[in-house]
Symmetry: D2
Subunit: 388 residues, 4 copies
């Protein structure tokens, strides 16, 4: 039957995790997905108790993801998982993702896509071989106002783009809280789990992705400085970069996890020859338009206002009833779901359905990290070409 | 089994409705509810197609709510609906709600609770007789910042309360769009469907409820003016009132649907002897604290910040990742769900679980409408006592 | 010579006063006025030391205003004062103003214009007899954004006006600080000095005046409630009113001096059939335009932006360089000055020159106080006609 | 006499100029200065008509500044100018300033101080030789909120400083309006009049100065990129730089004149180990304090609030009555005036009196331009040491 729900499995996302609960709500909100199985924690006790609290029967709560993929494969096609959401630390992204793809299971991954660029390229190859769908949780591209920016730039409202400022200041790592345990800072600041970069991998990639998503232009070279402000921390906790995009756009990217007192203040400003735009995720339902020859405009996001079809497809409320982080996340799941359903039905997904970050964004994200690390810690060269 | 999901049915909420989709997402987000049946529209075609799109099997998509309640009663207890959500125009609230209560089914109702005060009192009586749970969708009380206001006032942070301003300006009825059809304005401006009041019933009740919820004080008399600014409209589209609360607090309530260009700008300000607070739903994750002897403070809503337990129970994200309208709605469903589950398990629901608008709020809401209408159209008396 | 500066005297405004220094800077900023004499305090010591600090020679620093007017009259016409600014408590407005007018001296008065309505009418009569100019310091009407609102409404941008909200919450009198001395609260809360009303006279009149100035409509009846929240205070410290304007506009006026934590948050919102506008004095250089069929607009006040001539006449900077309270005040002085200079030269002042609050605004302000007091403390009548 | 007003002359500032009128109002507002003479334009007609409109007698309106300095020197000491304000394009700063200093006349200069670094050093030498006072109009350091930031950092509120973002986006040069004439863009984009840098000299210096003023730390090296986005323009119209300060603080500086739709959005954010601060000149009366362990605070600038003495010295109103650009400017004049008066009286000026940008700031400003130009157009070196 065409309209059957998708069955979702999870790797990670136990009751002790932050981002897993975000994914779960985002996935389930639209009523097109059932959570049917999972290995929710490296600790089997937590996995079991978590799975039960998610109303999953014990026989589909697994001790390892290897076991999950093997046992699910033995279930009838009408029961087994259609896709897996992987929300583990970075060094546990690649293996379960590859296992899933090898078994015909679609994948949703948190970002950055992998631990290393090499792993990312292998995933890309496997996705291309299998024709399966891989979605990446660059959540900020899921906001309707962001999609409206993208659409307006694509149709030329701003004219030729000149200047871009993207920033993501956070303050939660202003002290070395990773030593205290019991929080999400541990693996994020451990190079063996998080990879070559700390702040730049965790939130710098979000800022970079947002800039490429909205402008439709790719970074070709950059000049970066990475810093570790908190003594003893083995990865960067702050970074800045000057960016050159194809097409002449120039950018400044700011990311910091020691900007004390800042929650998650990601913000994007773009200026072209004819106009500018501004958006900030902490007030995500306002899109500010700037002009040289008429007053500034503010569009309230809503399905009864002044958005084009590309953004409207991702809107659930009239203006003034704020949608937020979960709904942006849900837009990724929703478009991923519709794409998988279309493929299942032998149909070509529309452009709107395909509007979610994919394996190519994931590879570029790892290249961004490589390039930033190469430039950011060295002083002998000003401009570092993008590392493919 | 303790942790079994609740099974939800719906009256209304077809693909042509606005608020139904809000309820559905809010209900499903937490993964503790399954949507199992419904009569989604007065038009059987729309009901069927809507139900199918919600992945409900045809045998549980009903033509009338009467049929639904009768047929569901014949299902085994392990399958039949646990509660019903009713999201029809006001004149179709009472009958299905009463049918549900008579059959042991819990109820979630949109506001105002009924068409008339008499109906409301009958529902109250039935709820008291049956011990069933009735939740009312005064969504603004579901926001964590609002709950934090309530908790801080209850513990005396502001001292004795003096002055309150609550306002809900909207602009969508600035023209007589109800004549165009195809929108939600039709029944809302038709006294036969909406009841004695238009604007005051639709959004005035929200503003009033928010004020009583946060302060813990009840209105005892008021002086109102209702207006119809758009020619030909048979109900009020604007209202204001001066309010006296028990305990000496004085309020001003503003509600308008002709405040052109305003989305849903509900805002609450309260001032006591020792401090003040302010909150606005269009930027719902900021709670502003005002003091006489130290700087203004802004609390960013988040589970890692400066909220007390009462609010934190209703928070899903760290500060800076905005929760919005759906999550506020989801908090009503979540607490309702936990209350029903507790009762099912023979446990006493906690204060946090019981923190959702209930049948008593519904009765007071209808009394508010009565009192406003009595005062608002008459000029011979300044202060109108609350109509019980 | 046409372009000679005006010579200014002062009554009040010693070094111990707040509003005097505001007037002085506002008057001098434009380089068209010289401060030449004054009786700056009821205390001759303070008057003398203040005058010296203002670089005035001792022989023109007077012990009483009576002495000032008498002695200045003996000076050659080329030296004696052209106008007097009176910035004393309300009960000392009338006498010096009348003395000035009787001697051919123009007058700038702080608001409310007088202690009683009777005094106000006598001043009006005298102004009409003498043809002299009397300006009243309703400073908020001096802001360019406010003037732009007035001009846009006058030309019909908003269509027929429907709804107005004007509010002026302050918190500085949340405690009974008038008992401490050494501040401006003393006379403002003493009925023998301030008159019949406290809060409503001090800031309610500002809110009322702003509403009539911007809309060009006059209040014809109102329903008010005055309150005294701080025990023992002999005047109102809070008031609200529902307002009916000629032409069908309905308003809500809020004024409070016990809204703890609020600085001077005067704000005006107006909605018509075609659009709405909003302005707030604490961010005075933004004018918000609201529409039903296109995005909200924000005009940055500046001489290089999107203002009409009526407002531009009162602008000194390009957008983004904020003008504030002093410049709004200075606009009153500037237009007063240009009017006096034009009359001196036998010319007819232009509409732009005459754009400052005058004796008629002063009389209406006193009528507003009368009407508010009559309605605000009584409960037997809902609507109180404007008291002429 | 101790309290005698200062007599001010002007070079530039005719009726066709923008910044001259700013200086004039800022100087006169405090009633401690008289404008007595000037050469207001390179065009003698404009100079004459301007001077007359400023109420200056014809014999003290000069055709050239050379003539002014010579003739003024012949006047009795009790009449001749005490200081000169120079508000000409950059290439006409040095000569009149030097002439003034050589004649014992104090100087107020607009920024950047001179056309070249060499000229700046000569002025410094002359100031040191003569003991005269030279003030520089880095207006943003005149805002009370900025001074409060400086004082709080100096006393250690933020702990060791880590990260600074300073930005000054403007949009007025997004098109090549300098070709149209009749505006201030002409000389600012002509290297023969403005010097080596366009945007970086005009507003980049403001951003840089603000950062050093507030933090008390000096830039020691930087990595910059200058750009010219508008084709044909011979100077930069945009620049960015990564900054290293002595003491470990790292900064990002953004300046642009092609950020279309931005008025004058200069903004400063600083983060230390213990807290952060933010200020924005378009809303200048709010100072935002950010903390890791308690809510964000907002201080409303005002003489009745939570500012320390260093800032309070520069405040004129209670909170909520906004001071703006003129008052910030006036603070420079006020402190300059008090310093000159103190010196005249043989007294040592206090730290508060000396709180205005001086000749050393001017020299560093020119060094900043040199360093930015050296780094900003070259690609072979990442970090450019500060050019002394």
């Amino acid at each position: 039957m065409v309209n059957k729900k998708l069955r979702m499995g999870m790797v990670g996302g136990g009751s002790d995790a932050f981002i897993g609960a975000i994914h779960r709500r985002a996935a389930l909100m639209e009523n097109d997905i059932d959570l049917v199985c999972g290995c929710f924690s490296i600790d089997p006790e937590i996995s079991l108790s978590s799975g039960r609290s998610y109303h999953i029967s014990d026989n589909r709560i697994y001790k390892t993801y290897k076991e999950m993929f093997e046992k699910e494969a033995l279930l009838p096609e009408s029961e087994r998982m259609d896709f897996v959401t992987i929300v583990t630390p970075n060094h546990y992204h690649f293996e379960p993702a590859m296992m899933a793809l090898e078994r015909g299971i679609h994948v949703v991954l948190d970002k950055p896509m992998t631990f290393s660029l090499e792993e990312a390229k292998l995933l890309q190859k496997k996705v291309e071989e299998t024709g399966l769908v891989l979605a990446l949780a660059h959540v900020y591209s899921g906001y309707p106002a962001v999609k409206e920016m993208k659409a307006r730039i694509a149709r030329g409202d701003l004219g030729k783009l000149r200047r871009l400022y993207v920033e993501y200041p956070q303050g939660w790592l202003a002290e070395r809280i990773e030593l205290q345990g019991g929080n999400n800072a541990g693996w994020r600041t451990d190079p063996k789990q998080t990879g070559k970069a700390g702040c730049i991998g965790d939130i710098g990639t979000h800022a970079w992705h947002l800039s490429e998503y909205v402008t439709g232009q790719k970074v070709i070279e950059l000049c970066a400085e990475l810093s570790t402000f908190v003594p003893g921390r083995p990865v960067d906790d702050d970074g800045v970069a000057l960016l050159h995009y194809e097409g002449g756009l120039k950018g400044v990217l700011i990311a910091s996890q020691i900007a004390i007192g800042e929650p998650n203040n990601i913000k994007l400003r773009i200026y072209g020859e004819k106009g500018g735009m501004e958006w900030r995720q902490q007030d995500p339902n306002y899109l500010i338009l700037k002009w040289g020859n008429r007053p500034r405009e503010i569009i309230d996001v809503g399905n009864n206002t002044f958005l084009g079809d590309f953004a409207l497809w991702n809107v659930r409320t009239p203006a003034g009833h704020p949608e937020g982080f979960f709904e942006a996340f849900a837009n990724i799941y929703r478009n991923f779901t519709k794409t998988v359903m279309a493929l299942r039905n032998g149909e070509q997904p529309t452009e709107s359905m395909l509007d979610f970050p994919n394996v190519y964004d994931g590879v570029r994200g790892m290249q961004f990290i490589e390039t930033m690390v190469e430039s950011g810690w060295k002083n002998d060269k000003k401009w570092q070409p993008w590392i493919e």
